[in-house]
């Protein structure tokens, strides 16, 4: 409550300052234009009225702007000085507290001694005096996040005990309801790593926000909070299109959340392309042994969405057995764009089948330079004698590609 109150009081004074400043400037502009003014019993006789009276109104406005500019310049210089000192102080304190909390929290999480109740209580008591102001709290939470994101083990149980004992839950709450979205992002991260499910509704609200930074973190937080799919991913990307950043963050959050069981079949099947992308990436990175969805994945080969097409190929070539891979490539290769052809060749460079090499030999002449290079690399890897037959090719590009392959890869 005190934390809330201090934020409100601070905001009130900041708003009051700006209000008084703007009001004073407005009042001055008015007062200096009049011969005399009486406001709330205060009588003001304009000493420069004769001058103001003698100049046109537009010149008076320019004079007011001049004074405002000078006043603003003065305020900004003062604020710069204040910022500079404050930031220096903040940075130094932040650095000190970060080091301190990194050290003590790492120790607390990893040292077996703190599994014992009495040592734990002792630790809690020792750390409590260092969690009084905002800088300390931010450093404390940031340190926890840093440690949690670095280590693959789940530290939520230990940190929850700490938060409970130190009565910090309401502080996390104050972050999530704060008007600043950077605080909301921090709160979502902490809440999701601590698996505190009481704030799901608020985070779901953020997931529908038009602020993409807030939205992206809300997606990742929701994923960390879920243990089962619960069709969560059908919600993600339903209202707003997902960016590549969203897709990456979501996929990484799922991959790190080992508990979460994803209905990735539904994702691949989704009409929403972004959800399909997530499904395909999960198929590649998490469910690579599961070939039941291969038929579905193949449907996306040659898709007009270039990124989706690329991911589909990448996934398909990761999970498909080698024999099927050759059939797949032979069937689609000619219709694909150059970038995809390069990807296909790079992903299939270990195929030693004669049938595949024969196919490569067939298509090589019609392809642009970069594809020729990749094709010759495959031949180089598998059939050195065959590569030598390209040495005297009259095709300039094949000559170039041959020279590169023989020059670099040998």
């Amino acid at each position: 409550m005190n934390f809330h109150l201090s934020i409100y009081i601070k905001n009130f004074f900041v708003t009051l300052f700006w209000f008084i400043l703007i009001f004073s400037v407005g009042l001055s502009v008015y007062a200096f234009y009049m011969k005399e003014t009486e406001i709330a019993g205060f009588y003001f006789k304009n000493p420069v009225f004769d001058f103001v009276y003698s100049i046109p109104l537009w010149v008076y406005i320019i004079i007011c702007f001049t004074f405002s500019s000078l006043l603003s310049a003065f305020i900004f210089v003062e604020l710069s000085l204040y910022n500079s000192i404050q930031r220096e102080r903040f940075n130094n304190l932040n650095l000190t507290y970060n080091r301190f909390f990194n050290y003590v929290l790492t120790n607390y999480f990893l040292n077996d001694i703190y599994k014992k109740k009495e040592f734990r209580r002792f630790f809690f008591k020792r750390i409590k005096p260092f969690l009084k102001n905002r800088i300390q709290l931010l450093s404390f939470f940031e340190s926890y996040l840093k440690i949690q994101e670095t280590l693959s083990i789940d530290l939520s149980y230990d940190f929850k005990l700490l938060v409970k004992y130190l009565k910090l839950t309401h502080k996390i709450e104050s972050f999530i309801y704060n008007k600043n979205f950077d605080d909301k992002i921090l709160a979502m991260k902490i809440i999701s790593y601590l698996r505190l499910r009481t704030y799901n509704k608020q985070i779901l609200k953020f997931a529908q926000s038009n602020n993409f930074a807030l939205r992206t973190e809300a997606y990742a937080s929701l994923i960390r909070l879920m243990e089962t799919d619960e069709h969560l991913l059908n919600l993600i990307g339903a209202k707003y299109n997902l960016s590549l950043l969203d897709v990456n963050i979501i996929v990484n959050a799922i991959l790190k959340n080992n508990k979460m069981n994803i209905n990735y079949h539904a994702l691949i099947f989704s009409e929403n392309m972004n959800q399909t992308m997530i499904g395909l990436l999960l198929a590649k990175y998490r469910y690579k042994k599961d070939t039941t969805n291969l038929k579905l994945i193949k449907n996306y080969l040659g898709n007009s969405n270039l990124i989706l097409n690329r991911i589909a190929w990448d996934t398909a070539l990761t999970i498909v057995p080698e024999d099927d891979m050759i059939d797949l490539i032979i069937a689609h290769f000619k219709n694909e764009i150059d970038d995809i052809k390069i990807l296909i060749l790079q992903k299939s460079k270990n195929i030693a089948s004669k049938r595949y090499i024969h196919f490569i030999q067939e298509i090589i002449h019609q392809q642009p330079l970069l594809i020729k290079i990749e094709a010759l690399r495959i031949i180089f890897e598998n059939d050195f004698d065959l590569l030598a037959t390209f040495a005297n090719s009259k095709d300039k590009e094949i000559e170039k590609a041959y020279n590169e392959v023989s020059s670099i890869y040998i």
Binding site: N248, V251, S406
Partner: protein, 483 residues
């Protein structure tokens, strides 16, 4: 005569009012964008980008001319930049010093038949080198005949095989996580294609540098560099940020910019016939998006100080640089005059390009005419002295306000220059700028116009001397490849 006076007075009043109004808008827009950027990045770990599953590949293209003194360090610094899919292409633009041999020896390079298409016409590439040391496998060293910076960059674009390319000056100091920050806008957009991204360039003069990294940021000792620090604050922190907010950014610094490679190839890369090749490329790419691809696009800007460069510390060098910038600007404006107030080109045609013409190119000319006009009026006593001085005072006070606002944001958001000494010094510089640096800049811009229109010298680079960052050696750059 009186009628003419009235017309001229009204013209200068309207022009001045529009100019000041535009500055107010710039201040407001940049504040909004900066505030959003800071908040969204505060708890974002840029390092996590390295773990992403879908990332564009990036080629750094660094043209180098006679960089013998620092080339080894510069390449090492580029190779240490953090990004998972990165290749570094250093283009030796026909250096006449021993830099080629030095790089070959140090990085154990051998000449290879690296295949590439000459999609953009460039000077002859004499050889491409790769390292036999696996640790430098992503380094490609290109040796070509001298053709200028634009030509070297074009050679790099031809050779690059990545989705994006980062054009940089080889002697710039790049922050370690610069690429991770620069690539983020390319990942963030949902419906809009990001075609390029620029970053803030800061002044490295007097900064402490160790192993190719800035370890201590110092305010320059040299007065001309001091002026430029303030100028860069206003231009990057406020100006470019504001233009980026409304997607009207027309220029990305040649020292540091990330571009879509295929798009750059589609517009034939950098224009070798101009000295403002960075400005020209962005305009070309934007035009291409409007006329050929007809797709929504964005030129993004990152307010983080990611690149540090040495600025001219001698007035002669500064004169050459500003002269060249002016000529480059005029050349591009005239080449693309069809964009001016053309709704076909969206915001570029209706807002940013006309702004550039009126308030970047023509401003020094109009200012000079105004100065002469009002001076004559003063001499002939045809002007109200009181009003004249009130207006002059307003111009000075507004200028002071704008500079202090830029400094305020710098300290609020980045605070790279620290302490009250810096603030008092920069305040003094902001005042001195109005009477020393600004008139000089106007004069240099006029010289640029004169060189372009009267001397017909459109693409001469002049001479530029740079002091090596560590002050251990001095190097001279002649001819085409500078800054």
């Amino acid at each position: 005569m009186e009628k003419l006076n009235q017309i001229l007075n009204s013209f200068f009043l309207i022009y001045g009012s529009l100019l000041f109004l535009s500055y107010v808008f710039i201040a407001i827009l940049s504040s909004i964008d900066l505030s959003f950027y800071v908040k969204k990045s505060k708890h974002f770990r840029f390092n996590s980008i390295k773990e992403y599953k879908i990332l564009p590949s990036i080629s750094i293209i660094a043209p180098a001319y006679n960089e013998e003194a620092s080339i080894i360090e510069n390449i090492r610094s580029l190779l240490s930049l953090e990004y998972p899919k990165l290749e570094v292409i250093v283009v030796n633009d026909g250096s006449i010093d021993n830099s080629l041999q030095k790089v070959i020896d140090y990085y154990r390079l051998i000449k290879v038949d690296y295949a590439f298409n000459q999609t953009i016409d460039t000077a002859n590439v004499r050889g491409i080198y790769k390292s036999t040391n696996a640790a430098y496998s992503n380094l490609i060293y290109v040796d070509k005949e001298n053709g200028g910076k634009a030509d070297a960059l074009n050679a790099g674009i031809n050779i690059a095989r990545s989705d994006l390319f980062l054009a940089i000056d080889v002697d710039c100091i790049i922050e370690n996580d610069a690429i991770l920050r620069m690539v983020k806008p390319f990942l963030e957009e949902t419906k809009i294609k990001v075609i390029a991204a620029g970053g803030v360039v800061r002044v490295a003069n007097s900064c402490e540098i160790k192993d190719g990294r800035i370890v201590n940021v110092n305010y320059p000792k040299n007065i001309w560099a001091k002026f430029q620090v303030l100028e860069y604050f206003r231009a990057f922190t406020l100006g470019r940020m504001a233009w980026s907010r409304i997607n009207g950014l027309l220029i990305i610094s040649g020292a540091f910019g990330l571009f879509d490679r295929k798009l750059a190839l589609a517009v034939d890369g950098y224009d070798k016939s101009t000295v403002g090749e960075d400005f020209e490329l962005v305009v070309q790419m934007r035009k291409h998006m409007h006329t050929v691809e007809k797709q929504k696009y964005k030129v993004a800007f990152i307010p983080d100080p990611l690149c540090w460069t040495e600025v001219p510390s001698k007035i002669r060098i500064l004169k050459n640089q500003r002269n060249r910038w002016t000529r480059g600007s005029i050349d591009t404006v005239l080449k693309h005059k069809d964009v001016f107030l053309n709704p076909k080109y969206g915001k570029m045609g209706l807002i940013s390009f006309p702004y550039w013409v009126l308030f970047e190119w023509l401003a020094p000319i109009i200012e000079t005419i105004g100065f002469i006009y009002f001076s004559l009026m003063l001499i002939f006593a045809s002007i109200n002295f009181q009003i004249f001085f009130i207006l002059l005072l307003f111009v000075f006070s507004f200028s002071l306000f704008f500079s202090s606002y830029a400094v305020f944001y710098e300290t609020l958001v980045f605070n790279r220059y620290k302490g009250y000494k810096f603030l008092f010094s920069v305040l003094f510089i902001a005042i001195a700028e109005m009477i020393i640096y600004h008139p000089l800049n106007v004069y240099f811009a006029l010289l640029g116009n004169y060189t372009f229109f009267v001397k017909k010298n459109k693409n001469g680079w002049g001479k530029m001397t740079r002091t090596a960052f560590d002050d251990k050696s001095k190097k001279t750059k002649n001819g085409k490849l500078v800054n």
